[in-house]
Symmetry: C2
Subunit: 229 residues, 2 copies
């Protein structure tokens, strides 16, 4: 029996490989997991359909989607149709970086955690593979934890939700291993920035490359459905 | 000539009295003001129409609205139709508190500031009249400033936007005085939680009372259009 048994948690669920693993980890820790997906005008809407499948297969207590049209402020290849998603690796902060995306996601999750009186918020940020993203670093997670302590009623009362980022220091291969050990069906997940309406991956974008390399490094057969060449 | 002349700033603009004053203060400080309104499923949609009028009258360089359906997570009388807005003052954190609202607003503003390379984000939070709201306190503003320094590309590069909350320690009467001195037309603004589709105020809710008391204390004639009794 886990001490956290039946305590509610909010789990940010994108429909990708990472957050599917996070959901499995939160469930294994005994939380009642309320999955939260954010529709932020991203091109890969197939991810949101995948999120619903992953929530159901992963035993989430509930799943809901909040929409925020970040495309209205522009600035990213993922939300702005005028900026192309590159098919070759780039240096520095990639054009697929969505300004303040994880801040917006965690802010909405914080509101939901307040409504649920949740003990934790789980988020799949990863500092290893996404080192070019400012909001995937330990300093970001720490600063958001500090904010959560003062931003909400629960925080003022001394029981702010803990920000849990269990993938923070894991490689993609490590994440695949954890997911496999916990029974995650990665065939249900979509990571590709350019997935087709059926959720099939392009095989060429940064997200596809990271994912395929992860399966290869983990020695696990890649279950990803790809668009036929 | 102000040192900040022509520097872009994001100004969170609700269409109410406070944020109209903040826009005037940001303009007076020499910023090119990009007004940002958030449609979060609040009942008083009349505020958003007011925001467009206030942005135009206040000389904003641009005005845009981002929608985020916080009603999907519930928890507040302002977004949840099952919770009544009280017409009498209440103790503690009021039911009109929207969980993590200012965190969500500032998160979206932070993304927009990153796109504009803005020097500042102006927000009309006030610790005097809204002492029951956790996210209207100086500690909240400080924690968000700390987050802004690590959450974005600009922050990593050492030029995070400053979080400017110029109303933080002002009474409603002080705010009215500042606005009048800067030429704000408060007749364009809507503060009421129950405003009718024409933007006319109910005269009874907490927001109406605070506002009317502010005009009275400032010795300024109340220009608010009220619903006929």
């Amino acid at each position: 029996m886990n001490a956290a048994a039946s305590k509610p948690a909010v789990v940010l669920l994108s429909g990708g490989l990472d957050s599917a693993t996070v959901l499995a980890m939160a469930r294994a820790a005994g939380y009642a997991c309320h999955a939260l997906s954010i529709d932020y005008g991203q091109r890969h809407g197939a991810e949101l359909a995948a999120a619903a499948r992953v929530a159901a297969a992963g035993g989430a207590a509930s799943h809901r989607t909040v929409s925020v049209n970040l495309d209205a402020i522009g600035g990213s290849a993922l939300t702005d149709s005028l900026i192309a998603v590159p098919s070759a690796p780039s240096a520095g902060i990639p054009v697929t970086y969505v300004p303040a995306r994880n801040t917006v996601f965690l802010a909405i999750a914080l509101g939901y955690a307040e409504v649920l009186d949740a003990a934790a918020i789980f988020v799949g940020v990863n500092a290893v593979d996404y080192s070019g993203y400012p909001d995937c670093r330990p300093a970001f997670v720490d600063a958001f934890q500090a904010l959560a302590r003062v931003a909400t009623k629960a925080g003022v009362e001394g029981h702010a939700p803990r920000i849990e980022a269990p993938l923070l220091h894991l490689s993609k291969a490590d994440i695949v291993h954890r997911g496999v050990a916990l029974g995650v069906d990665f065939g249900l997940t979509v990571s590709c920035y350019n997935a087709d309406p059926l959720g099939r991956a392009c095989g060429h974008c940064d997200a596809c490359r990271l994912r395929a390399d992860g399966f290869a490094a983990a020695g696990v057969a890649d279950p990803t459905p790809y668009v036929p060449a």
